[in-house]
Protein backbone atom coordinates (compact mmCIF):
# COMPACT_ATOMS: atom_id res chain seq x y z
CA UNK A 1 0.00 0.00 0.00
CA UNK A 2 1.29 3.46 -0.85
CA UNK A 3 2.54 5.68 1.95
CA UNK A 4 -0.27 8.23 1.75
CA UNK A 5 -2.84 5.47 2.05
CA UNK A 6 -1.09 4.21 5.17
CA UNK A 7 -1.09 7.71 6.64
CA UNK A 8 -4.80 8.20 5.92
CA UNK A 9 -5.61 4.81 7.44
CA UNK A 10 -3.64 5.61 10.59
CA UNK A 11 -5.25 9.05 10.91
CA UNK A 12 -8.75 7.55 10.58
CA UNK A 13 -7.99 4.74 13.03
CA UNK A 14 -6.56 7.10 15.65
CA UNK A 15 -9.43 9.57 15.17
CA UNK A 16 -12.02 6.83 15.65
CA UNK A 17 -10.40 5.52 18.83
CA UNK A 18 -9.91 9.07 20.17
CA UNK A 19 -13.56 9.92 19.47
CA UNK A 20 -14.70 6.74 21.27
CA UNK A 21 -12.51 7.56 24.30
CA UNK A 22 -13.87 11.14 24.28
CA UNK A 23 -17.46 9.84 24.25
CA UNK A 24 -16.73 7.48 27.14
CA UNK A 25 -14.83 10.07 29.17
CA UNK A 26 -17.76 12.49 28.98
CA UNK A 27 -20.32 9.66 29.20
CA UNK A 28 -22.16 11.01 26.17
CA UNK A 29 -25.32 9.49 24.77
CA UNK A 30 -26.46 7.54 27.84
CA UNK A 31 -30.10 7.47 28.86
CA UNK A 32 -30.70 8.01 32.57
CA UNK A 33 -33.55 5.53 32.84
CA UNK A 34 -31.75 2.66 31.11
CA UNK A 35 -29.36 0.45 33.04
CA UNK A 36 -27.27 -0.50 30.02
CA UNK A 37 -25.50 0.97 27.00
CA UNK A 38 -23.78 -0.18 23.85
CA UNK A 39 -22.22 -3.01 25.87
CA UNK A 40 -25.52 -4.93 25.84
CA UNK A 41 -24.83 -6.82 22.63
CA UNK A 42 -28.02 -8.83 22.41
CA UNK A 43 -31.59 -8.27 23.54
CA UNK A 44 -31.31 -10.88 26.28
CA UNK A 45 -28.41 -8.87 27.79
CA UNK A 46 -30.77 -5.99 28.51
CA UNK A 47 -32.17 -5.86 32.06
CA UNK A 48 -35.98 -5.99 32.08
CA UNK A 49 -35.98 -6.34 28.30
CA UNK A 50 -39.61 -7.49 28.40
CA UNK A 51 -40.70 -3.92 29.15
CA UNK A 52 -39.05 -2.69 25.97
CA UNK A 53 -39.71 -5.71 23.77
CA UNK A 54 -43.38 -5.89 24.66
CA UNK A 55 -45.82 -7.49 22.24
CA UNK A 56 -48.71 -5.74 20.57
CA UNK A 57 -46.97 -2.49 19.61
CA UNK A 58 -47.99 -3.10 16.01
CA UNK A 59 -50.76 -5.30 14.64
CA UNK A 60 -49.53 -7.08 11.50
CA UNK A 61 -52.10 -7.20 8.69
CA UNK A 62 -51.04 -10.54 7.17
CA UNK A 63 -51.02 -14.08 8.56
CA UNK A 64 -47.76 -15.26 10.15
CA UNK A 65 -46.99 -17.84 7.42
CA UNK A 66 -46.85 -15.08 4.75
CA UNK A 67 -43.94 -13.46 6.59
CA UNK A 68 -42.18 -16.81 6.90
CA UNK A 69 -42.61 -17.49 3.15
CA UNK A 70 -41.36 -14.02 2.22
CA UNK A 71 -38.46 -14.38 4.63
CA UNK A 72 -37.40 -17.74 3.20
CA UNK A 73 -37.93 -16.66 -0.43
CA UNK A 74 -35.73 -13.58 -0.07
CA UNK A 75 -33.13 -15.63 1.81
CA UNK A 76 -33.05 -18.25 -0.98
CA UNK A 77 -32.73 -15.54 -3.65
CA UNK A 78 -29.86 -13.86 -1.80
CA UNK A 79 -28.09 -17.19 -1.28
CA UNK A 80 -28.21 -17.75 -5.05
CA UNK A 81 -26.88 -14.23 -5.65
CA UNK A 82 -24.04 -14.82 -3.21
CA UNK A 83 -23.18 -18.08 -4.96
CA UNK A 84 -23.10 -16.25 -8.29
CA UNK A 85 -20.77 -13.56 -6.88
CA UNK A 86 -18.44 -16.27 -5.56
CA UNK A 87 -18.48 -18.14 -8.88
CA UNK A 88 -17.61 -14.96 -10.79
CA UNK A 89 -14.70 -14.24 -8.47
CA UNK A 90 -13.03 -17.65 -9.08
Amino acid sequence: MKNWKKVVTWVVAVAVVAAAVYVMALRLGLADGLDFGAGAYYWADIPEAEKIFRDGVYSPSLPYWVYVVLFLAWGWLMYRLWGWVEKKSK
Binding site: M1, K5, K6, T9, V12, A13, V16, V17, A19, A20, V23, M24, R27, L28, G29, L30, A31, D32, G33, L34, D35, F36, G37, A38, G39, A40, Y41, Y42, W43, A44, D45, I46, A49, E50, I52, F53, D55, G56, V57, Y58, S59, P60, S61, L62, Y64, Y67, V68, L70, F71, W74, G75, M78, Y79, L81, W82, G83, V85, E86, K87, S89
Partner: protein
Protein backbone atom coordinates in the same frame (compact mmCIF):
# COMPACT_ATOMS: atom_id res chain seq x y z
CA UNK B 1 -14.22 -42.76 14.54
CA UNK B 2 -17.69 -44.18 13.79
CA UNK B 3 -20.73 -41.95 13.27
CA UNK B 4 -22.08 -43.01 16.66
CA UNK B 5 -18.82 -42.14 18.39
CA UNK B 6 -18.80 -38.71 16.73
CA UNK B 7 -22.00 -37.92 18.62
CA UNK B 8 -20.24 -37.99 21.97
CA UNK B 9 -16.57 -37.51 21.13
CA UNK B 10 -16.42 -34.50 18.82
CA UNK B 11 -16.35 -30.90 19.99
CA UNK B 12 -19.35 -29.80 17.89
CA UNK B 13 -21.72 -32.44 19.19
CA UNK B 14 -20.47 -32.12 22.77
CA UNK B 15 -21.16 -28.36 22.60
CA UNK B 16 -24.73 -29.22 21.51
CA UNK B 17 -25.27 -31.64 24.41
CA UNK B 18 -23.76 -29.28 26.99
CA UNK B 19 -25.86 -26.39 25.65
CA UNK B 20 -29.01 -28.53 25.79
CA UNK B 21 -28.17 -29.70 29.32
CA UNK B 22 -27.96 -26.07 30.51
CA UNK B 23 -31.19 -25.19 28.66
CA UNK B 24 -33.03 -28.22 30.09
CA UNK B 25 -31.98 -27.50 33.69
CA UNK B 26 -32.76 -23.78 33.20
CA UNK B 27 -36.27 -24.64 31.94
CA UNK B 28 -36.83 -27.07 34.82
CA UNK B 29 -35.68 -24.53 37.41
CA UNK B 30 -37.88 -21.72 36.11
CA UNK B 31 -40.99 -23.71 35.16
CA UNK B 32 -41.16 -25.70 38.40
CA UNK B 33 -39.63 -23.13 40.75
CA UNK B 34 -37.94 -25.98 42.63
CA UNK B 35 -34.47 -24.47 42.72
CA UNK B 36 -32.47 -21.38 41.73
CA UNK B 37 -30.24 -22.07 38.74
CA UNK B 38 -29.16 -18.44 38.15
CA UNK B 39 -25.53 -17.86 37.29
CA UNK B 40 -23.62 -15.09 39.01
CA UNK B 41 -23.77 -11.58 37.59
CA UNK B 42 -22.13 -8.44 38.93
CA UNK B 43 -24.47 -5.51 39.45
CA UNK B 44 -23.26 -2.15 38.17
CA UNK B 45 -20.66 -0.57 40.48
CA UNK B 46 -18.79 2.69 40.20
CA UNK B 47 -15.23 3.98 40.42
CA UNK B 48 -16.57 7.21 41.87
CA UNK B 49 -17.80 8.99 38.73
CA UNK B 50 -20.18 11.91 39.17
CA UNK B 51 -23.55 10.35 38.43
CA UNK B 52 -27.02 11.80 38.23
CA UNK B 53 -29.55 10.69 40.85
CA UNK B 54 -31.20 8.31 38.35
CA UNK B 55 -27.86 6.81 37.37
CA UNK B 56 -26.72 6.43 40.98
CA UNK B 57 -29.94 4.52 41.76
CA UNK B 58 -28.76 1.72 39.42
CA UNK B 59 -25.45 1.28 41.23
CA UNK B 60 -24.67 -1.28 43.96
CA UNK B 61 -21.46 -0.81 45.93
CA UNK B 62 -18.85 -3.43 45.08
CA UNK B 63 -18.25 -4.15 48.76
CA UNK B 64 -21.93 -4.91 49.28
CA UNK B 65 -21.91 -7.34 46.34
CA UNK B 66 -18.76 -9.15 47.43
CA UNK B 67 -20.04 -9.32 51.02
CA UNK B 68 -23.25 -11.06 49.99
CA UNK B 69 -23.68 -14.80 50.62
CA UNK B 70 -26.05 -15.12 47.64
CA UNK B 71 -23.39 -13.68 45.32
CA UNK B 72 -20.82 -16.33 46.35
CA UNK B 73 -23.39 -19.14 46.23
CA UNK B 74 -24.21 -18.17 42.64
CA UNK B 75 -20.51 -17.94 41.83
CA UNK B 76 -20.05 -21.48 43.11
CA UNK B 77 -23.07 -22.72 41.12
CA UNK B 78 -21.70 -21.09 37.95
CA UNK B 79 -18.25 -22.56 38.50
CA UNK B 80 -19.60 -26.04 39.22
CA UNK B 81 -22.10 -26.11 36.33
CA UNK B 82 -19.63 -24.88 33.73
CA UNK B 83 -16.65 -26.69 35.23
CA UNK B 84 -18.36 -30.09 35.42
CA UNK B 85 -19.94 -29.84 31.95
CA UNK B 86 -16.81 -28.62 30.17
CA UNK B 87 -14.64 -31.12 32.06
CA UNK B 88 -16.92 -33.96 30.90
CA UNK B 89 -16.69 -32.61 27.34
CA UNK B 90 -12.91 -32.41 27.48
CA UNK B 91 -12.63 -35.93 28.95
CA UNK B 92 -14.86 -37.36 26.20
CA UNK B 93 -12.58 -35.73 23.64
CA UNK B 94 -9.72 -37.74 25.11
CA UNK B 95 -7.95 -34.99 27.03
CA UNK B 96 -6.52 -35.23 30.54
CA UNK B 97 -8.78 -34.03 33.36
CA UNK B 98 -5.78 -33.73 35.65
CA UNK B 99 -4.44 -31.00 33.39
CA UNK B 100 -7.78 -29.42 32.47
CA UNK B 101 -9.32 -28.86 35.91
CA UNK B 102 -6.59 -26.64 37.49
CA UNK B 103 -6.28 -24.76 34.20
CA UNK B 104 -10.06 -24.21 34.03
CA UNK B 105 -10.14 -22.93 37.62
CA UNK B 106 -7.51 -20.34 36.73
CA UNK B 107 -9.31 -19.37 33.49
CA UNK B 108 -12.55 -18.99 35.43
CA UNK B 109 -10.76 -16.70 37.91
CA UNK B 110 -9.54 -14.51 35.01
CA UNK B 111 -13.06 -14.52 33.50
CA UNK B 112 -14.44 -13.53 36.93
CA UNK B 113 -12.05 -10.56 36.96
CA UNK B 114 -13.18 -9.62 33.44
CA UNK B 115 -16.83 -9.62 34.48
CA UNK B 116 -15.95 -7.55 37.56
CA UNK B 117 -14.20 -4.93 35.43
CA UNK B 118 -16.91 -4.89 32.78
CA UNK B 119 -19.64 -4.23 35.37
CA UNK B 120 -18.14 -0.84 36.26
CA UNK B 121 -20.63 1.93 35.39
CA UNK B 122 -18.87 3.61 32.45
CA UNK B 123 -17.05 0.51 31.19
CA UNK B 124 -20.28 -1.48 31.32
CA UNK B 125 -22.28 1.03 29.33
CA UNK B 126 -19.85 1.33 26.44
CA UNK B 127 -17.69 -1.78 26.19
CA UNK B 128 -18.74 -4.61 28.52
CA UNK B 129 -17.38 -8.13 28.59
CA UNK B 130 -16.22 -9.02 25.06
CA UNK B 131 -13.82 -6.10 24.85
CA UNK B 132 -12.46 -6.50 28.38
CA UNK B 133 -12.06 -10.26 28.02
CA UNK B 134 -9.92 -9.72 24.93
CA UNK B 135 -7.94 -6.92 26.56
CA UNK B 136 -7.25 -8.73 29.84
CA UNK B 137 -6.25 -11.89 27.95
CA UNK B 138 -3.99 -9.91 25.62
CA UNK B 139 -2.35 -8.06 28.51
CA UNK B 140 -1.55 -11.34 30.27
CA UNK B 141 -0.24 -13.11 27.16
CA UNK B 142 1.84 -10.13 26.00
CA UNK B 143 3.36 -9.25 29.39
CA UNK B 144 3.84 -12.08 31.87
CA UNK B 145 2.95 -14.73 29.29
CA UNK B 146 0.64 -17.74 29.53
CA UNK B 147 2.07 -20.62 31.56
CA UNK B 148 2.01 -24.04 29.87
CA UNK B 149 -0.24 -25.52 32.57
CA UNK B 150 -2.99 -22.98 31.74
CA UNK B 151 -3.12 -23.88 28.04
CA UNK B 152 -5.32 -27.01 28.38
CA UNK B 153 -8.21 -24.70 29.40
CA UNK B 154 -7.82 -22.42 26.38
CA UNK B 155 -10.51 -23.97 24.21
CA UNK B 156 -12.03 -20.98 22.44
CA UNK B 157 -14.17 -22.85 19.89
CA UNK B 158 -15.63 -25.23 22.48
CA UNK B 159 -16.84 -22.35 24.69
CA UNK B 160 -18.15 -20.34 21.73
CA UNK B 161 -20.11 -23.25 20.27
CA UNK B 162 -21.64 -24.05 23.65
CA UNK B 163 -22.57 -20.40 24.23
CA UNK B 164 -24.18 -20.26 20.80
CA UNK B 165 -26.38 -23.30 21.44
CA UNK B 166 -27.58 -21.68 24.69
CA UNK B 167 -28.15 -18.40 22.83
CA UNK B 168 -30.34 -20.25 20.30
CA UNK B 169 -33.07 -20.49 22.97
CA UNK B 170 -33.42 -16.69 23.00
CA UNK B 171 -34.01 -16.45 19.23
CA UNK B 172 -37.79 -16.37 18.84
CA UNK B 173 -39.22 -16.76 15.33
CA UNK B 174 -42.46 -15.04 16.35
CA UNK B 175 -40.56 -11.73 16.26
CA UNK B 176 -40.48 -11.98 12.46
CA UNK B 177 -43.99 -10.49 12.14
CA UNK B 178 -43.70 -7.98 14.98
CA UNK B 179 -43.55 -4.96 12.67
CA UNK B 180 -45.33 -6.48 9.67
CA UNK B 181 -43.95 -5.97 6.18
CA UNK B 182 -42.32 -2.72 7.28
CA UNK B 183 -39.99 -4.45 9.72
CA UNK B 184 -39.33 -7.37 7.41
CA UNK B 185 -38.56 -4.99 4.56
CA UNK B 186 -36.11 -2.83 6.49
CA UNK B 187 -34.37 -5.62 8.42
CA UNK B 188 -34.38 -8.46 5.95
CA UNK B 189 -34.12 -6.90 2.48
CA UNK B 190 -31.11 -4.78 3.41
CA UNK B 191 -29.13 -7.24 5.56
CA UNK B 192 -28.19 -9.91 2.99
CA UNK B 193 -27.49 -7.26 0.35
CA UNK B 194 -24.98 -5.60 2.68
CA UNK B 195 -23.36 -8.96 3.46
CA UNK B 196 -22.99 -9.81 -0.24
CA UNK B 197 -21.71 -6.30 -1.04
CA UNK B 198 -19.08 -6.48 1.72
CA UNK B 199 -18.09 -10.00 0.66
CA UNK B 200 -17.62 -8.81 -2.91
CA UNK B 201 -15.75 -5.69 -1.76
CA UNK B 202 -13.45 -7.62 0.54
CA UNK B 203 -12.65 -10.56 -1.71
CA UNK B 204 -12.74 -8.92 -5.16
CA UNK B 205 -11.84 -5.24 -4.69
CA UNK B 206 -9.56 -5.45 -1.63
CA UNK B 207 -8.40 -8.94 -2.69
CA UNK B 208 -8.47 -10.24 0.87
CA UNK B 209 -7.73 -13.98 0.95
CA UNK B 210 -9.12 -14.42 4.43
CA UNK B 211 -12.78 -15.02 3.52
CA UNK B 212 -13.87 -16.07 7.04
CA UNK B 213 -12.67 -12.67 8.31
CA UNK B 214 -14.55 -10.85 5.52
CA UNK B 215 -17.82 -12.67 6.22
CA UNK B 216 -17.45 -12.27 10.00
CA UNK B 217 -16.99 -8.51 9.65
CA UNK B 218 -19.83 -8.31 7.10
CA UNK B 219 -22.23 -10.07 9.48
CA UNK B 220 -21.17 -7.91 12.41
CA UNK B 221 -21.84 -4.81 10.31
CA UNK B 222 -25.16 -5.79 8.82
CA UNK B 223 -26.80 -7.97 11.47
CA UNK B 224 -26.04 -7.18 15.09
CA UNK B 225 -22.40 -6.73 15.96
CA UNK B 226 -20.75 -9.02 18.47
CA UNK B 227 -23.44 -11.74 18.62
CA UNK B 228 -23.55 -12.06 14.83
CA UNK B 229 -19.75 -12.01 14.59
CA UNK B 230 -19.48 -14.86 17.11
CA UNK B 231 -22.10 -16.99 15.31
CA UNK B 232 -20.89 -16.34 11.77
CA UNK B 233 -17.22 -16.53 12.66
CA UNK B 234 -17.77 -19.97 14.20
CA UNK B 235 -19.86 -21.07 11.18
CA UNK B 236 -17.20 -19.95 8.67
CA UNK B 237 -14.31 -21.40 10.65
CA UNK B 238 -12.79 -17.96 11.33
CA UNK B 239 -9.56 -17.89 13.29
CA UNK B 240 -9.46 -16.44 16.79
CA UNK B 241 -7.80 -13.24 15.54
CA UNK B 242 -10.48 -12.75 12.88
CA UNK B 243 -13.14 -12.73 15.55
CA UNK B 244 -11.26 -10.39 17.87
CA UNK B 245 -10.67 -7.89 15.05
CA UNK B 246 -14.28 -7.97 13.83
CA UNK B 247 -15.64 -7.61 17.37
CA UNK B 248 -13.24 -4.81 18.35
CA UNK B 249 -14.00 -2.73 15.24
CA UNK B 250 -17.74 -3.24 15.67
CA UNK B 251 -17.63 -2.27 19.37
CA UNK B 252 -15.64 0.94 18.79
CA UNK B 253 -17.86 2.13 15.93
CA UNK B 254 -21.03 1.19 17.83
CA UNK B 255 -20.07 3.66 20.56
CA UNK B 256 -19.78 6.44 17.98
CA UNK B 257 -22.95 5.51 16.10
CA UNK B 258 -24.96 5.29 19.33
CA UNK B 259 -24.05 8.88 20.18
CA UNK B 260 -23.79 10.62 16.81
CA UNK B 261 -26.44 8.90 14.66
CA UNK B 262 -29.41 10.30 16.67
CA UNK B 263 -27.76 13.76 16.57
CA UNK B 264 -27.43 13.63 12.79
CA UNK B 265 -30.96 12.28 12.34
CA UNK B 266 -32.36 15.09 14.46
CA UNK B 267 -30.28 17.69 12.60
CA UNK B 268 -31.68 16.39 9.29
CA UNK B 269 -35.24 16.85 10.56
CA UNK B 270 -36.19 13.19 10.05
CA UNK B 271 -39.32 12.10 11.94
CA UNK B 272 -39.10 9.69 14.89
CA UNK B 273 -40.45 6.66 13.05
CA UNK B 274 -37.99 6.92 10.18
CA UNK B 275 -35.12 7.81 12.53
CA UNK B 276 -35.88 4.88 14.81
CA UNK B 277 -36.03 2.47 11.86
CA UNK B 278 -32.70 3.77 10.55
CA UNK B 279 -31.11 3.28 13.96
CA UNK B 280 -32.61 -0.21 14.35
CA UNK B 281 -31.30 -1.23 10.95
CA UNK B 282 -27.80 0.19 11.19
CA UNK B 283 -26.50 0.44 14.78
CA UNK B 284 -24.76 -2.84 15.60
CA UNK B 285 -25.48 -3.80 19.21
CA UNK B 286 -29.02 -4.09 20.55
CA UNK B 287 -28.24 -2.08 23.67
CA UNK B 288 -26.93 0.80 21.58
CA UNK B 289 -30.05 0.64 19.39
CA UNK B 290 -32.32 1.08 22.40
CA UNK B 291 -30.24 3.93 23.83
CA UNK B 292 -29.94 5.74 20.48
CA UNK B 293 -33.66 5.26 19.77
CA UNK B 294 -34.53 6.62 23.23
CA UNK B 295 -32.46 9.73 22.48
CA UNK B 296 -34.83 10.49 19.59
CA UNK B 297 -38.05 9.84 21.50
CA UNK B 298 -40.48 7.08 22.56
CA UNK B 299 -41.78 6.31 19.06
CA UNK B 300 -38.24 6.10 17.71
CA UNK B 301 -37.32 3.73 20.53
CA UNK B 302 -40.26 1.43 19.72
CA UNK B 303 -39.52 1.32 15.99
CA UNK B 304 -35.76 0.88 16.54
CA UNK B 305 -36.41 -2.05 18.86
CA UNK B 306 -38.93 -3.65 16.50
CA UNK B 307 -36.51 -3.53 13.57
CA UNK B 308 -33.59 -4.77 15.69
CA UNK B 309 -35.62 -7.65 17.13
CA UNK B 310 -36.16 -8.91 13.56
CA UNK B 311 -32.45 -8.54 12.79
CA UNK B 312 -31.67 -10.61 15.88
CA UNK B 313 -33.59 -13.58 14.45
CA UNK B 314 -31.36 -13.44 11.40
CA UNK B 315 -28.28 -14.52 13.37
CA UNK B 316 -29.20 -18.21 13.17
CA UNK B 317 -30.21 -18.11 9.50
CA UNK B 318 -27.14 -16.17 8.44
CA UNK B 319 -24.87 -18.52 10.42
CA UNK B 320 -26.61 -21.53 8.86
CA UNK B 321 -26.20 -20.28 5.30
CA UNK B 322 -22.65 -19.10 5.91
CA UNK B 323 -21.79 -22.61 7.17
CA UNK B 324 -23.47 -24.14 4.11
CA UNK B 325 -21.79 -21.67 1.74
CA UNK B 326 -18.32 -22.28 3.13
CA UNK B 327 -18.85 -26.06 3.17
CA UNK B 328 -20.06 -26.22 -0.43
CA UNK B 329 -18.46 -23.31 -2.26
CA UNK B 330 -15.49 -21.76 -0.46
CA UNK B 331 -13.76 -24.78 1.09
CA UNK B 332 -14.40 -27.24 -1.72
CA UNK B 333 -11.47 -28.66 -3.62
CA UNK B 334 -11.76 -29.39 -7.34
CA UNK B 335 -14.64 -28.48 -9.60
CA UNK B 336 -17.05 -31.30 -8.79
CA UNK B 337 -20.21 -30.61 -6.84
CA UNK B 338 -20.10 -31.42 -3.14
CA UNK B 339 -22.49 -34.26 -2.29
CA UNK B 340 -24.99 -34.31 0.56
CA UNK B 341 -22.90 -36.68 2.69
CA UNK B 342 -19.81 -34.49 2.27
CA UNK B 343 -21.85 -31.39 3.17
CA UNK B 344 -23.00 -33.19 6.32
CA UNK B 345 -19.42 -34.08 7.26
CA UNK B 346 -18.20 -30.51 6.78
CA UNK B 347 -21.24 -28.77 8.27
CA UNK B 348 -20.65 -27.38 11.80
CA UNK B 349 -23.09 -29.38 13.93
CA UNK B 350 -23.47 -26.79 16.69
CA UNK B 351 -25.50 -24.70 14.20
CA UNK B 352 -28.07 -27.52 14.28
CA UNK B 353 -28.06 -27.23 18.07
CA UNK B 354 -28.57 -23.46 17.79
CA UNK B 355 -31.59 -23.96 15.52
CA UNK B 356 -33.02 -26.78 17.59
CA UNK B 357 -32.85 -24.62 20.74
CA UNK B 358 -34.54 -21.78 18.87
CA UNK B 359 -37.31 -24.07 17.54
CA UNK B 360 -37.93 -25.50 21.01
CA UNK B 361 -38.27 -21.99 22.50
CA UNK B 362 -40.43 -20.65 19.64
CA UNK B 363 -42.76 -23.57 18.96
CA UNK B 364 -42.80 -25.60 22.17
CA UNK B 365 -42.03 -23.60 25.31
CA UNK B 366 -43.57 -20.27 24.18
CA UNK B 367 -46.94 -21.71 23.01
CA UNK B 368 -47.26 -24.11 25.96
CA UNK B 369 -45.93 -22.05 28.88
CA UNK B 370 -46.30 -18.49 27.51
CA UNK B 371 -43.99 -15.66 26.56
CA UNK B 372 -43.33 -14.66 30.18
CA UNK B 373 -41.92 -18.10 30.98
CA UNK B 374 -39.61 -17.93 27.96
CA UNK B 375 -38.38 -14.51 29.12
CA UNK B 376 -37.79 -15.81 32.65
CA UNK B 377 -35.89 -18.83 31.32
CA UNK B 378 -33.81 -16.58 29.07
CA UNK B 379 -33.03 -14.41 32.09
CA UNK B 380 -31.30 -17.47 33.59
CA UNK B 381 -29.74 -18.87 30.41
CA UNK B 382 -28.42 -15.50 29.28
CA UNK B 383 -25.84 -15.42 32.05
CA UNK B 384 -24.56 -18.91 31.20
CA UNK B 385 -24.27 -17.80 27.57
CA UNK B 386 -22.31 -14.73 28.67
CA UNK B 387 -20.01 -16.80 30.89
CA UNK B 388 -19.29 -19.19 28.01
CA UNK B 389 -18.49 -16.23 25.74
CA UNK B 390 -16.33 -14.53 28.38
CA UNK B 391 -14.34 -17.78 28.74
CA UNK B 392 -14.02 -17.85 24.94
CA UNK B 393 -12.92 -14.24 24.51
CA UNK B 394 -10.51 -14.48 27.43
CA UNK B 395 -9.07 -17.59 25.75
CA UNK B 396 -8.70 -15.65 22.49
CA UNK B 397 -6.81 -12.88 24.29
CA UNK B 398 -4.58 -15.39 26.10
CA UNK B 399 -3.78 -17.10 22.82
CA UNK B 400 -2.99 -13.99 20.77
CA UNK B 401 -0.10 -11.60 20.45
CA UNK B 402 -0.25 -7.98 19.28
CA UNK B 403 1.93 -8.66 16.22
CA UNK B 404 -0.53 -11.26 14.92
CA UNK B 405 -3.38 -8.75 15.22
CA UNK B 406 -1.34 -6.13 13.36
CA UNK B 407 -0.75 -8.60 10.51
CA UNK B 408 -4.43 -9.53 10.36
CA UNK B 409 -5.38 -5.87 9.82
CA UNK B 410 -3.78 -6.26 6.36
CA UNK B 411 -2.52 -2.71 6.08
CA UNK B 412 -5.87 -1.22 7.10
CA UNK B 413 -8.02 -3.09 4.56
CA UNK B 414 -10.17 -4.49 7.37
CA UNK B 415 -10.87 -0.99 8.70
CA UNK B 416 -11.84 0.32 5.25
CA UNK B 417 -13.99 -2.73 4.59
CA UNK B 418 -15.97 -1.91 7.73
CA UNK B 419 -16.23 1.83 6.99
CA UNK B 420 -17.35 1.40 3.37
CA UNK B 421 -19.63 -1.51 4.26
CA UNK B 422 -21.27 0.42 7.10
CA UNK B 423 -21.72 3.47 4.85
CA UNK B 424 -23.41 1.25 2.25
CA UNK B 425 -25.55 -0.24 5.03
CA UNK B 426 -26.66 3.22 6.19
CA UNK B 427 -27.48 4.42 2.65
CA UNK B 428 -29.41 1.28 1.71
CA UNK B 429 -31.32 1.25 5.00
CA UNK B 430 -32.09 4.94 4.56
CA UNK B 431 -33.55 4.17 1.13
CA UNK B 432 -35.63 1.27 2.52
CA UNK B 433 -36.83 3.48 5.39
CA UNK B 434 -37.83 6.27 3.01
CA UNK B 435 -39.58 3.80 0.70
CA UNK B 436 -41.57 2.10 3.46
CA UNK B 437 -42.11 4.72 6.15
CA UNK B 438 -42.13 8.16 4.52
CA UNK B 439 -45.76 7.82 3.37
CA UNK B 440 -44.80 8.55 -0.24
CA UNK B 441 -45.24 4.97 -1.48
CA UNK B 442 -46.84 3.00 1.39
CA UNK B 443 -49.20 4.17 4.16
CA UNK B 444 -47.46 5.10 7.42
CA UNK B 445 -47.97 2.33 10.03
CA UNK B 446 -49.81 3.02 13.27
CA UNK B 447 -48.13 1.99 16.53
CA UNK B 448 -50.01 1.41 19.81
Amino acid sequence: MSNKEKLYKTEDWLAVWIGFAVIAVGCLAVLTGWFDFSAVKFSTWTLGENLTEAQAAKVTALGAQLGSWVFWRKTLVTLLVLGVLFACGVKLQGESLKKYIPAFLCLFAVAFTVRLISAEFTLNRYLEWAFWALLVGLLISNTVGVPAWLKPAIRTEFYIKTGLVIMGFSVLFSNIAKFGLYGLGIAWIVTPLVIIFMYWLGTRVFKMDNKPLVITLASATSVCGTSAAIATGAAAGAKKNDLSIAVSISIIFTILMMVFEPMIIRACGMNQMMGGALIGGTVDSTGAVVVAGTALGPEAQQVAVLVKSIQNILIGFIAFFVALFFATKVNRTGSSKVGASEIWVRFPKFIIGFFAASLVASFLIQPVFGGDSVKAINGVLDQYKNWAFVLAFTSIGLDTNFREIGRQMQGGKVLWLYIIGQTFNILLTLFAVWLLLSGVVFPIPVLQ
